[in-house]
Symmetry: C2
Subunit: 149 residues, 2 copies
DNA sequence: TGACATTGATTAGACATCTAACTTATTATC
DNA sequence: GATAATAAGTTAGATGTCTAATCAATGTCA
């Protein structure tokens, strides 16, 4: 039984997060963290979202999302308005300034993939992803699953 | 070009960290985070260490290590004494209470590996680790490296 | 030897994140 | 329809983490 994968995963996670932060700063978004990027990513995709949806998408708690959206609002990238249908819900939308970031985000996303998969053939990339999916399910579902050949 | 690996890695990292925290709490170490575990892991291995060594081993900054060791000291698991050879260095050692945790730590470490690698054959585990090592080096060294077949 | 740089560690201040508790609005139940 | 349960969001307080600045001890070199 090997035992290095979790350490490698932890280091890749940290290296990737730092790389993303640096790229965001280079795109003029200093102080924007990857979690903020997740918020914007959902809004690029579907125009508006509630705090609850954003929290689920970014896999963060609601209090965390309150802080994150508050910061993006202060930066002028999103607005927060009460839903007319359900007065409990806050609807978050991109401002025109926020919308303007889309190309930069897409570019960072492409460069991230290109950096991460450098040196991987397509089959090797698929094998890696299948193995990672298996490992994730090992943590999320108690029972072990199918064996990899 | 695929693009899921970073997301999977991020989720595995978080799931593993939560699993470790829960296991530490179940072992009677509530409030002990994985980083504290890294500190103890080095002390199980080499009896004493400076703040600088601990920070390098846990890949955390020195101010962070000041906080982490401060907490472990407050919990009675380690002591901090000034080095007689170099008055700048703080020498961190396990207390007998800290030493007593070793078996529980070893057990958690074994169970972590067993959980992570459930369903992996030894060759599949090796392939995964090789691929992760490649991806990590993609982030740590600018140039792409060897291609995986 | 003495000025300067380097190194180990801490302090200060900031931020993302969490849990617990709370507020307000909607839904369900009797 | 009134009361209880649920849901969305925020506030409060704590923690791990970082960078920048600082302090104290050691090393370097003219």
């Amino acid at each position: 039984m090997q035992r290095n994968a979790i350490m490698l995963i932890s280091r890749i996670h940290e290296a990737a997060a730092k790389w993303i932060s640096d790229e965001l700063a280079a795109a003029g978004l200093e102080g924007v963290a990857p979690s903020h990027g997740d918020v914007l990513a959902l809004l690029f995709r579907q125009k508006e979202a509630t705090m609850h949806e954003l929290a689920a998408f970014a896999r963060r708690t609601k209090p965390t999302m309150t802080v994150l959206v508050g910061k993006l609002e202060k930066m002028g990238l999103v607005t927060r308005t009460q839903s007319p249908l359900d007065a409990r819900c806050q609807i978050v939308r991109l401002t025109p300034e926020g919308e303007r970031l889309r190309p930069a985000f897409d570019a960072i996303s492409r460069r991230l993939a290109s950096r991460a998969y450098a040196g991987f053939s397509p089959p090797a990339a698929r094998r890696l992803e299948a193995a990672l999916a298996q490992m994730l399910s090992n943590f999320e579902n108690p029972q072990p699953e199918r064996t990899q050949p």
